[in-house]
Symmetry: C2
Subunit: 276 residues, 2 copies
């Protein structure tokens, strides 16, 4: 772990990242010793900082630290956090405080290769996402809703849970964005009111545009997903997981998920070909 460039596992207990969740983070897959899609992750991190008015981040130092931690390891995850830094007690952000940079290396998670090859089982979560446009889209450190949702199940056969917002619209998985195919159109929920604007989601939308696939970003009910022909979830680490079931509803293996894996997520494709 690097904290402000120093090899150090600890941070101040007066850091606003701890006190208020006052910061943002990125979880980035490492391939061939470099953080993958670094520019997209950095761009979202900076959008988050701008939204929270966290200023003075040394992005060059951050990039150097992330790349340093990736070097040597062929596979893994680098997690980058930026907090508003150490402040006085009280919610008010002080001027002139330097943000804290935290860069952590984590081992590659041990998901079964069947998750990529045969698809995953999903469930609906009871925990709803609150509607908060001011925080929607960015990957901030206030993640209790995801923690509560992920605590709803324990069965290893369920790989992910889907969440609706408090108005009943589908938003995303606890740690992924969701796409579905219906009537020949690729759909994904709008995340203007809550949810994270995933880097994998953005890459898939851009690819679909290049491939001239019909795409729609809109509000959807759970029924729309249940009636879909194909469903998949995505994030920067897993790439794409086809969905084989969502509670009682089953789906056929998806052709589009496989195409996207091949086009955009070589690590996901490798994992799918693996015999484990």
């Amino acid at each position: 772990v690097l904290v402000n460039g120093q090899a150090c596992e600890k941070i101040s207990s007066l850091d606003r990242g701890l006190l208020y969740g006052d910061g943002v983070f990125e979880t980035i897959a490492i391939g061939d010793g470099v953080p993958l899609a670094w520019d997209l992750h950095l761009a979202r991190l900076l959008r988050g900082c701008a939204r929270l008015a966290i200023t003075g981040l040394d992005t060059q130092a951050l990039a150097a630290e992330a790349h340093e931690l990736c070097r040597g390891g062929d596979r893994g995850i680098v997690k980058v956090m930026v907090t508003r830094g150490i402040g006085q007690r009280g919610y008010r952000p002080e001027a002139g405080v330097m943000p804290t940079r935290i860069v952590q290396w984590h081992p590659w998670p041990k998901y079964p290769s069947g998750h990529w090859r045969d698809g995953v089982n999903l469930r609906w979560c009871q925990t709803r996402l609150a509607v908060q446009p001011l925080l929607a889209g960015i990957k901030h450190l206030n993640r209790l809703e995801q923690v509560l949702a992920r605590a709803e199940w324990d069965e290893p056969r369920i790989a992910e849970g889907l969440m609706c917002d408090t108005r009943g619209r589908v938003v995303s998985g606890t740690m992924s964005n969701v796409f579905f195919v219906a009537d020949g159109v690729l759909h994904t929920p709008d995340i203007r009111d809550c949810g994270v604007a995933g880097v994998a989601r953005a890459r898939i939308l851009q690819w679909a545009d290049q491939e001239r696939l019909a795409c729609r970003i809109d509000d959807y009910t759970p029924a729309a997903l249940q009636a879909a022909k194909e469903v998949f979830v995505c994030n920067s680490v897993i790439g794409v997981w086809p969905v084989r079931s969502l509670d009682q509803v089953c789906y056929a293996p998806g052709a589009l998920a496989a195409r996207i894996m091949e086009a955009l997520f070589p690590l996901a494709r490798q994992a799918a070909l693996c015999r484990l």
Copy 2:
């Protein structure tokens, strides 16, 4: 600062308090070398832990640590944080992880004595509180809404900002609960959908009940506060601040705020009598 009983200012950067805001806190006034209303603060902290399913907290150790830090100092603040502890990457709370206890001493904040004696100026915040019944009432570490609201103003003459939820109902101040008097009844907003169930708020409601004052907990629009005869804000550190203005609306000095200060918050009363 004590972290798990050790004199240490730092915590692990793998602590879920930092990663996800996965924890709760209390901010407690110190009087005569002891944390005031300790039992009420501990009870709310434990309610928060129960809601988040944070188990295994050593409450005796926590109480001993908080009292140890208060001893000797006559005036100040003790801040207590409990997080779910250090975990693997991922939102899922693991079983068997010990919570992290963090106890910090802070100096008494330098508010002008006029805040208590003559009242404070308030403003309405643009930042809305999201409706999330699962997290309402408890004092968790996901506080970005309060940070954004407090960042809305810089003028020292404004002591606090009031916040509405996304449905337009008044909830609280950024760091306080709010009460108002109208038609001879003491009113305070319901906090079942968002906001914190303040310890000072609970003490005032209990006192009002003992004094057989007519009380109502309900949903209110900003207009209801603007038409009120008396308005005051409260928390465990400040006790009670009478409100003299709320944006363009002015209020006469409140008789009830003074009575509550005298009955419940001797530190607030001392501050009001101070010449500073």
